[in-house]
Structures are given as structure tokens and as C-alpha cells.
């Protein structure tokens, strides 16, 4: 990200060129100010009026140029932000699935909203301002040079001193900015949790409890902000003091110089105006640089959040014959104890496989491993002869369609949710919806808030329709029957078992008369998985299910 910090370079260059033109025009006007004053002092009214006409014409020209400048500046900001945001998302999407962390979600969100807003305000705007200030500074130097080269040397010496001071004084401000970023993050996390848990909070009347916590988070944000303000006030005052001393020394000595050299009053006014122009950018220069340096850390944070070690996966596949788990211990990264030990699975192409077991026994852990959300603690998972973590991600995932227990419903229409924005024949979508018993839904109906406006059963069936629409070799089903009524679940099971695909169904809900349709049944029990051919054994575990 850091190398993109200056935003869109071509538009930046256009802006630089434009600013130089614009500033030259106002420099011309300052020069004419000298001319008109000298004519005035010579009491030549005709020439005063002539020059005045030219000056007014230049001012009109400035208005036009200024308006063009507005267009160019806004174009620069727009293209730069687009570039940066899209780049960020691109980087995010490039991450390997094993590197995705749900808890990072809020950090990404905060980066893409708060932090980008701050970056725009405190960096990109300031880039434009610095260009403007630098141009005005140079223009003033040129004008002063027409009077005395000695003064030019002094002006440059001032610039060097200011840059030096700036480097020294902004350290504490940078630190506080980082602290503020962190408290903003905590604030955003808290808000997010509150909004997610709105119903529970209301139901249990936790408003007051949460309210106090909210106030303390909000207070922390503003207090950290206050610290930043306090520190930058001191830094600014110090810088101001040094700047003002130098500038007024210069102006006074300039005037003394002009007085002894008996320069014209016009030149004097011109020098003063130019010094005013030097002073203005220099005064702004320090706070602007301070702000920019403070905010540039944000981009480093972005890089830190996005950069993951590169994972080399290079083996290409487009089909498979078997998926093997060989003596695998499965579990979560942050938990040393594996959930399942020495797992051996053998799944061949077109087989229908059922994995059953109690709630919490670790059924989903198997699927998460297949989906590569977690790495096996021990042992290997092979697709044909290849370790699945060596396969090019896109090739690997193309083989699978997953119907999830939680699943995520995007904000978008039903159609978008099924196709996931891939080009697809609408009829195919309708067929899939038909197959899962959702033919009565309008495919253009928008879904919101992770599917809050569909029922639990409809949601599960949408997920299934999504999987059916993809031409994947394997369909992974993770507890898809849990929110469906019996008859629909039964018919969906029959439908998917009739598909000419490999089916891996993880479920605690089974239908006795359909059990023989499976080629293999695994039971998850006592920390491991074993193959069984005894349908009665499987059935005896399911004491409640209707026949």
C-alpha cells in the first residue's frame, strides 16, 4: 500500500502542471501591483487605469484557471481513492483461505472506512496543498529575486530550517495518532457487537450495562483525540514562534535594506507581499507535514494487516479419483488438544458418504479441514497423490460446492445470492430453486442483514440452491437438514443422492429408509471416526427421528 501513497500519479502530475500555471498568473499580478503603485506615485492616472484593466483581466483568467483546478483536484482525489480501495480489496482477496481470520473482519472494515477517510483528509488533501504551497513559495522567491538575490538566499535558508524543525517536533503526535487509531478500533468493535446482539440486549434489558461500556469507549476515543490536540497545540505554538521570529526579522531587514537602497515604494510593497506569500506556505508547511507523517502509519498498518507469508501452491488439478485422510489429528490452531484423533477417511469419486455423530463430536472439523479452513495437526490429506495444501487454490475449490451450517447471505437479490454475481442462465437458477422447493420465491427479491427476511428453512435451501448451480465435482453438506422440516429434508436428501456427483453429507439427522442409498457411512465417536456398514447401529443412535 505504501508505494501507492501518493495516489494516482498521472493526475497528480497534471495537478502539478496546472498549479504552476495558476501560481505564475498570480505572480504576474503581484508584479503588476508594483507597476501600478509606481505609476500611482508618479501620478500617471492613464497608465494606472491601463494596468488596472490588465490586472482585472488576469483575475478573470485566474477564476477560470481556478475552476479548472477544482476539476483536476477532484479527479485526482477520486481516482486515487478508487485505486487505493480497490487495491486493498484486491490484496485481501489474494489471501489464502487458511490465512483468513474472522476476528480480523472488523479491522478490515475500520481500515476501509475510518482509516481511509482519515487518509484522504490528512494525506491526499495535504499532498495537493503542499504542491500549492511549494509553487507559491518558488513564485515568491522568483519575485524577490528581481529585487535582491541576497533575500533569495535567506528565503531558502528558512525553508531548510523549517523542514529540520518539522522532523524533530512531530514524534509525540505520531505516537498519539497510533493510540487514537487503536481506541477507535475498540469503539468500532463494540458498536459492531452491540448491533449484532441488539435483540438479546433489548430482551434482557442490558441497555444500561451496555450504555456505560459504550460511554467509556466513546470517552476513550475523544480523550485520545484530546491528547493529540494538546500535543499538536504545543508543537504548533513552538513552530509558530520560531517561524514568526525568522519571518519578521526578514521583513524588517528587507525593509531596512530597501530603505537604504532607496528602492521604489512599489518594489517595497511587492517584496512585502511576496514575503507574505512565503510566510503563508511556511506557516502551513509544518502542521501539514506533521499531519501527513502522523497518518502515513495508517498505510503501514494496512500492509501489516494484509501481508501474509506467501504460500506456495503450484500443483494443478482439474479432476480427482479419491480424497484420503491418513492418520490425521484434527483441531483448531489455538487449541493444543485435537478434537479428532487418527482420522482415516477414504472417499472416492461419485461416492455418497454420510458422516454422523453427536452434537459437538467434531463432525464439522472434518469439513473445515476439507475446506482448508484449518490445517491438520498431524497426518496428511491427499487428493489422489497430492497433499491438498499444495494444490493451486482455485483448482482445488473448483472441485467443491459447500452447503454450510451457518452460511452467509449477502445483501443482494436472491438471484445474486445463488449465482454469487457469476454470469448464469436465469432458468438454471429457477431450476435449482425448484429442486430445493423454493419455486414460489421471487428471484429478484432483495435479501438483507445476512438473510434476516427469510425463514431458517428457506435460508438452508438457498444455500443448497447455490451449491447446485455450480458445476462442482463434490457437494459438501454441513448439517443442512437441521432447519428443514422432515418431508422437505427427506426429499432433498433423495435428490442430492441421485445427483451424479460425489456427496459428503455431515448430519445428525438421518432417514432410515434412505440410509442404504449411501455408499459409506462414518460415525464420529469418542474423538475419532470409524467406518461402519451396520445400518442398525447408525439407526439405534437416532431414537427420536420419525420414520
Amino acid at each position: 500500500m505504501r508505494k501507492l501513497k501518493l495516489g494516482n500519479i498521472p493526475w497528480l502530475i497534471v495537478n502539478v502542471i496546472h498549479t504552476i500555471f495558476f501560481v505564475s498568473l498570480s505572480g504576474w499580478n503581484i508584479y503588476l501591483l508594483k507597476v501600478i503603485t509606481d505609476y500611482g506615485l508618479a501620478r500617471e492616472m492613464d497608465k494606472v487605469l491601463q494596468t488596472a484593466q490588465l490586472m482585472l483581466a488576469i483575475m478573470l483568467g485566474s477564476l477560470i484557471l481556478d475552476s479548472i483546478g477544482t476539476l483536476l483536484k477532484s479527479k485526482y482525489l477520486e481516482t486515487s481513492l478508487k485505486q487505493l480501495k480497490n487495491h486493498y480489496i484486491h490484496q485481501l482477496m489474494e489471501q489464502d483461505i487458511t490465512q483468513l481470520q474472522k476476528e480480523q473482519c472488523n479491522i478490515y472494515r475500520s481500515n476501509l472506512t475510518n482509516d481511509f477517510d482519515r487518509f484522504e483528509e490528512k494525506f491526499l488533501f495535504n499532498v495537493l496543498e503542499i504542491i500549492h504551497m511549494a509553487s507559491r513559495f518558488l513564485m515568491s522567491v522568483v519575485i524577490v529575486a528581481t529585487v535582491s538575490l541576497y533575500l533569495v538566499a535567506v528565503a531558502f535558508a528558512m525553508l531548510v530550517i523549517f523542514v529540520f524543525i518539522t522532523g524533530k517536533t512531530n514524534k509525540p503526535v505520531q505516537k498519539s495518532e497510533a493510540k487514537k487509531s487503536k481506541s477507535l478500533q475498540e469503539y468500532t468493535d463494540f458498536v459492531n457487537e452491540t448491533l449484532n446482539g441488539f435483540e438479546i440486549i433489548k430482551q434482557h434489558q442490558l441497555q444500561n450495562l451496555r450504555f456505560d461500556a459504550f460511554v467509556s469507549k466513546a470517552t476513550k476515543v475523544q480523550k485520545d483525540n484530546y491528547t493529540v490536540d494538546k500535543q499538536s497545540t504545543k508543537v504548533d505554538a513552538l513552530n509558530n514562534f520560531i517561524q514568526t521570529s525568522i519571518i519578521f526579522t526578514l521583513i524588517v531587514s528587507g525593509i531596512l535594506f530597501a530603505r537604504s537602497a532607496e528602492a521604489s515604494l512599489g518594489s517595497l510593497i511587492m517584496v512585502a507581499t511576496s514575503f507574505g506569500n512565503v510566510m503563508w506556505p511556511l506557516q502551513r508547511f509544518t502542521p501539514v507535514i506533521t499531519q501527513m507523517k502522523g497518518i502515513i502509519n495508517v498505510l503501514d498498518e494496512f500492509d501489516k494487516n494484509l501481508n501474509r507469508p506467501f504460500i506456495d501452491r503450484h500443483i494443478r488439478v482439474n479432476d480427482f479419483q479419491s480424497l484420503l485422510f491418513e492418520h490425521c489429528d484434527l483441531g483448531y490452531e489455538d487449541d493444543p488438544q485435537p478434537i479428532l484423533q487418527s482420522v482415516n477417511l477414504d472417499i472416492n469419486k461419485s461416492e455418497k458418504v454420510l458422516i454422523v455423530g453427536h452434537s459437538g463430536a467434531g463432525k464439522s472439523t472434518v469439513l473445515k479441514t476439507i475446506r482448508q479452513s484449518i490445517l491438520p495437526k498431524n497426518g496428511l490429506v491427499r487428493l489422489d497423490q497430492t497433499n491438498i495444501f499444495d494444490i493451486v487454490p482455485i483448482d482445488y475449490y473448483s472441485l467443491f460446492a459447500t452447503v454450510d451450517q451457518i452460511g452467509f447471505i449477502f445483501n443482494g437479490t436472491i438471484l445474486d445470492n445463488v449465482t454469487m454475481y457469476q454470469p448464469m442462465d436465469e432458468q438454471k437458477v429457477r431450476d435449482a430453486l425448484n429442486q430445493v422447493g423454493l419455486s414460489d420465491l421471487d428471484i429478484h427479491e432483495p435479501l438483507r442483514n445476512n438473510g434476516a427476511n427469510v425463514s431458517g428453512g428457506q435460508r438452508a435451501r438457498l444455500m443448497l440452491a447455490r451449491a447446485l448451480c455450480l458445476n462442482s465435482e463434490v457437494i459438501l453438506c454441513d448439517e443442512i437438514f437441521s432447519s428443514l422440516e422432515q418431508s422437505i429434508a427427506r426429499s432433498i436428501e433423495r435428490d442430492i443422492l441421485n445427483l451424479n456427483k460425489t456427496i459428503i453429507n455431515v448430519s445428525h439427522i438421518i432417514f432410515k429408509n434412505q440410509l442404504p442409498l449411501y455408499d459409506k457411512i462414518y460415525i464420529v465417536d469418542q474423538g475419532t471416526i470409524r467406518l461402519t456398514s451396520d445400518i442398525q447401529e447408525v439407526w439405534s443412535r437416532m431414537i427420536l427421528t420419525d420414520v
Partner: protein
């Protein structure tokens, strides 16, 4: 609370802020004085005079630095306090929603109110407030001084300020409108972000990264485009004002030069007028530019803090005799979900609601649990219509186990007991009731084990049982239960059902599974059928 009331509430801090803000107005004048004294050096004949001038220059040049610093210290405390209160008000507004009104907008809508909108307010409100005070303060001061030097020029200055004001007015509607659009675009952007961030794993699994980049790019495009427009409008207005002001300054200078040629003013006055006019017009411009920003920031304030108006309920919840549902009908938009339902429930009854998916089981539960109020017909509890019963009093006697199990990023214990006092015995019993006791004993930190937000580090069944445990621990008289066994295997499910059925409470339960078993054990069965009627 309106902004006025908020400011009045912080009178002391506001006074300090205003003093601080007015302090800045002298800085421009002092700078002019420093400059004119520097020019005065030319007219001084002897060294003593020159030194006197230099001393004055130093005095006038350094005072503003001190006042600036002092001014900022006086101001930032007020800024901190106001922003804390604005955040709090916005938060209160969101929390004052009923379930029903809360769900009318996507979550991101509220998120952007508490994050981006407040950032926008923070940026615009204080900056414009200060600049308006600074600008108009300097303006009044300047015009007063000018009146003594040349009344004609003072009147001309006032005239130009009227023109500048008119220009500002001209731009006001369009500036406000684009600000509003920016906010809407920001909210859309947030929705799209949720899609990508929360759906990242799904996106990866389905390898549709490229397909999701496109809508994201579109939304970034829309947002940045509208921001671009807003920027252009602001800037163009400011360009126009600059031009008017610059031209005016020029004309006045030529006029002053003419006066000088006619020997009507001295050289020093000429320079003073030139400088002062410069000061005045620039401060006017910035003042007018900031008026629109100030107004839009107040718009933001009003939008994010205006409290939700909820219907006032007056009755207390009391369920001693009967809950009667009369001709209950409910529609989502054009879709009728429930039609003419009639039934009644007595205290301690066990009621089972069944029906095919989409038949409105959850909807019925939501009507009964006061989560939906736009139904037709009546729900009478003892003698009061449900809608007239105060929510707080209702919630004291009713619990609701929802299908979505939300867990806080906190310990297991705190997730169950929430704000109630901890009673170890009761807690353990509840955990046994939901069949989680053994699991907890295997955890290193026991009930203090920390759950991630939304319980991402535990299984679906454990999440479900924790949310059941939460309601059991709170021991309400009436329990609404939506699909308590969805993620559970049959053994656990039976255990949970036995627990629920053995409670000495009213139980209203939705299920689509284990119907044979359940039908035998519940007192009343309400069967819904799919209407799917479009009206």
C-alpha cells in the same frame, strides 16, 4: 435533545470555547499592525524611532502565537465533551428502537451513523464553528476601523459582503443535497463491505473473488463520484467568492491610489487600507464558505440523534388467566403470512406451533413475544391488548429463545447470567439441564472460558444450548422457543425437550422435528399452513 439544548447544557465549556474562538479574531488585526509598523520604519528619521517600531512589530507579531495557543486549549475540552455526548446521543437513539423498527434498516446503516457520520460531524462542525466566529469577528473589527479611515470604502465593503452572502445562499441547497447523498453512498458502501468481509470465506470457497470485486468497484465508484461532486460544488463556490473578493480588493486599491494622486490620503493610510481590505475580504470569504458546512453538520447532528418515537404503552404485564388470540392476521408487504388465527393459552400450558417452512411459525412467535406490532386482530393478555403492555414489564415475565444464537465476546458465565447476579448452584443446574455441564468441566477456565463474538470457537449445538441456558437461568414465567433442537442430535434434543416440558412455566414452542414425540407431550398443538397469499 437538539443541538441548542446540548450546547446550553455545556454552558461553562461553551463559554470557554467562545472566549477561545473570539481570541483568534485579533490575530489578523495584530498581524496587520505588525506589518504596518514594519513599513513605518521607512518614515522614521532616527534610530530611536526605528527601535520603537521594531519593538512594536515584535509585540504585535508574538501576541497572536500566545493567543492561538491559549485559544486552542480553551476550545479542545469543549470539543471532547460535545463529541462524547453526540456519540452517546446517537447510540441512545439506536438503542431506543424497537425490534421492529430496528430491523427496517440494515445493520450497516446504524454502523455508519456511529462511525462515519460522527467523523463527518466532528470534522465539519467545529472547523466551521470556529471559522465563522473568527471570520465575522475579524470582519466587524475591521469594518469599524475602516469607518474611521474612509466611510465610503467601509460601505463598499459591506455591499460586497452582501454579494458574497447571496452567492453562498445560491449554493446552499445543492451543497446540502450532495452532503446528504454522500451519506447515503457511504451507507451503501458499508453494505457492500459487509458482503465482502463477512462473506470472505464463502467467496473464497466458491472462487468468485473476481465477481465480487466488480460490485465493490461499482460502489467505490459511486461513492467517490458523489464525493467528487460535493468537492467540486464546495470549491467552485469558494473560487467564485475569491474572485469577487480579489476584484473588489483591486478596485479599492485603484480608488485609494486615485485618492492619493488627488492628495486626499497619505501614503501610510494607503498601505493600511490595502492591507485591511485584504484581511476583511478573505475572512468574509472563509466565513461564508463555512456557513454551508456548518449547516450541513447540524443536519447530520439532527439525523443521527433525533430520538425514535415509540408508542407509549401504559399497562403492566399480568398473565394470571388467559392469553387470547383473536382473528390474528399478519402480512409482510404484499404477502399474507397469518390469517384469522384464533386460539388461547392458559398459564403453564405447553403449546407447540408446527407447520411447513415459510408458514409463519416464527412470525407468530414474534407477534406473541411483542417483537411485531403491525398485526391485525387482537392478542389479549388477561384484559390488556399486548400492544398496550409496557415492554419492560413484559420482558420481566417473558423469555425468548431465538433461532439466531448471539453470543458476546465474553466468558461462558457472563454470556449466560448477563446482568443478573451469579449463583453457582443455579448455574450448574442450568448447565446440566442443557447438557453442557460435562463440556464445561473439560475446559481449563471452566465457566470463565472466553467465547469469541458470535461464539465462533464453539459448535453450532453448543451455541444453541448456551442461548437456551441463558433463558433458563433468567427463569421467566413465559418462555417462547424457536426451534430449540435445530442443531442438536436426537439424544441431546430429547434431553432439552424434557427440561423445557418439566418447567413449571408457560411454554410456547416452534418446531419442525420430532413431531410425533412432541405431539404426545405438549398440551396444545397449533398447526399453521402455508398461505403464500398475495394481497
Amino acid at each position: 435533545m437538539t443541538l441548542n439544548q446540548l450546547l446550553r447544557k455545556n454552558k461553562k465549556q461553551l463559554t470557554l470555547y467562545l472566549i477561545g474562538a473570539f481570541m483568534t479574531t485579533i490575530s489578523g488585526l495584530f498581524f496587520t499592525l505588525a506589518l504596518s509598523n514594519a513599513f513605518g520604519i521607512i518614515e522614521e528619521a532616527d534610530f530611536a524611532g526605528i527601535w520603537r517600531r521594531i519593538a512594536l512589530v515584535l509585540l504585535f507579531a508574538f501576541t497572536p502565537i500566545l493567543t492561538q495557543m491559549l485559544s486552542r486549549f480553551l476550545r479542545i475540552g469543549f470539543m471532547r465533551d460535545i463529541l462524547i455526548q453526540v456519540r452517546t446521543l446517537a447510540y441512545e437513539k439506536i438503542m431506543s428502537h424497537t425490534y421492529e423498527s430496528f430491523r427496517k434498516n440494515p445493520k450497516e446503516h446504524y454502523m455508519s451513523m456511529l462511525v462515519s457520520d460522527i467523523n463527518l460531524f466532528e470534522k465539519d462542525f467545529f472547523l466551521s464553528f470556529l471559522n465563522i466566529i473568527y471570520s465575522f469577528g475579524s470582519f466587524i473589527l475591521g469594518v469599524t476601523i475602516l469607518t474611521f479611515i474612509s466611510p465610503i470604502i467601509a460601505v463598499a465593503t459591506l455591499f460586497v459582503s452582501v454579494i458574497l452572502f447571496a452567492v453562498t445562499k445560491l449554493f446552499e441547497p445543492v451543497a446540502r443535497k450532495t452532503k446528504q447523498q454522500t451519506q447515503e453512498a457511504n451507507a451503501d458502501y458499508n453494505v457492500q463491505l459487509t458482503n465482502i468481509l463477512n462473506g470472505m470465506e464463502v467467496i473464497k470457497l466458491y472462487h468468485v473473488e473476481e465477481n465480487f470485486k466488480k460490485p465493490f468497484e461499482n460502489i467505490v465508484f459511486a461513492l467517490e463520484n458523489i464525493k467528487k461532486r460535493a468537492f467540486r460544488i464546495d470549491e467552485f463556490q469558494s473560487n467564485l467568492n475569491h474572485w469577487i473578493a480579489g476584484t473588489f480588493q483591486m478596485i479599492i486599491y485603484i480608488y485609494a491610489t486615485y485618492l492619493y494622486i488627488q492628495d486626499m490620503v497619505t501614503l501610510t493610510s494607503l498601505i493600511l487600507v490595502f492591507n485591511l481590505i485584504g484581511q476583511l475580504v478573505w475572512s468574509m470569504i472563509s466565513g461564508f464558505n463555512f456557513i454551508n458546512r456548518f449547516k450541513t453538520s447540524i443536519d447530520i447532528f439532527n439525523r443521527i440523534t433525533q430520538p425514535q418515537v415509540n408508542p407509549q404503552a401504559v399497562n403492566k404485564m399480568s398473565f394470571r388467566e388467559v392469553l387470547k388470540v383473536k382473528n390474528l392476521t399478519f402480512s409482510y408487504g404484499d404477502h399474507r403470512i397469518l390469517q384469522d388465527l384464533n386460539f388461547s393459552v392458559k398459564p403453564k400450558d405447553k403449546v407447540l406451533i408446527i407447520g411447513p417452512s415459510g408458514a409463519g411459525k416464527t412470525t407468530l412467535l414474534n407477534c406473541l413475544a411483542q417483537n411485531l406490532s403491525t398485526y391485525q386482530g387482537e392478542i389479549i393478555v388477561d384484559s390488556h391488548e399486548l400492544r398496550t403492555i409496557q415492554t419492560e414489564s413484559f420482558l420481566k415475565s417473558c423469555g425468548y429463545i431465538r433461532q439466531q444464537h448471539f453470543l458476546f465476546n465474553d466468558s461462558i458465565k457472563n454470556n449466560v447470567i448477563l446482568a443478573s447476579p451469579f449463583n453457582k448452584e443455579k448455574f450448574d443446574k442450568v448447565m446440566k439441564d442443557v447438557d453442557l455441564y460435562d463440556w464445561i468441566t473439560t475446559l481449563q477456565a471452566k465457566e470463565d472460558h472466553i467465547l469469541e463474538q458470535d461464539g465462533l470457537n464453539i459448535s453450532g449445538g453448543q451455541r444453541q444450548r448456551l442461548s437456551i441456558a441463558r433463558e433458563l437461568y433468567h427463569d421467566r414465567e413465559v418462555l417462547f422457543v424457536d426451534e430449540p433442537s435445530a442443531s442438536l442430535d436426537d439424544q441431546t434434543a430429547q434431553h432439552i425437550y424434557d427440561t423445557l416440558l418439566n418447567l413449571d412455566k408457560t411454554l410456547i414452542c416452534v418446531s419442525h422435528r420430532h413431531l410425533d414425540y412432541l405431539s404426545k407431550h405438549f398440551d396444545t398443538k397449533i398447526e399453521l399452513e402455508t398461505l403464500g397469499v398475495a394481497i
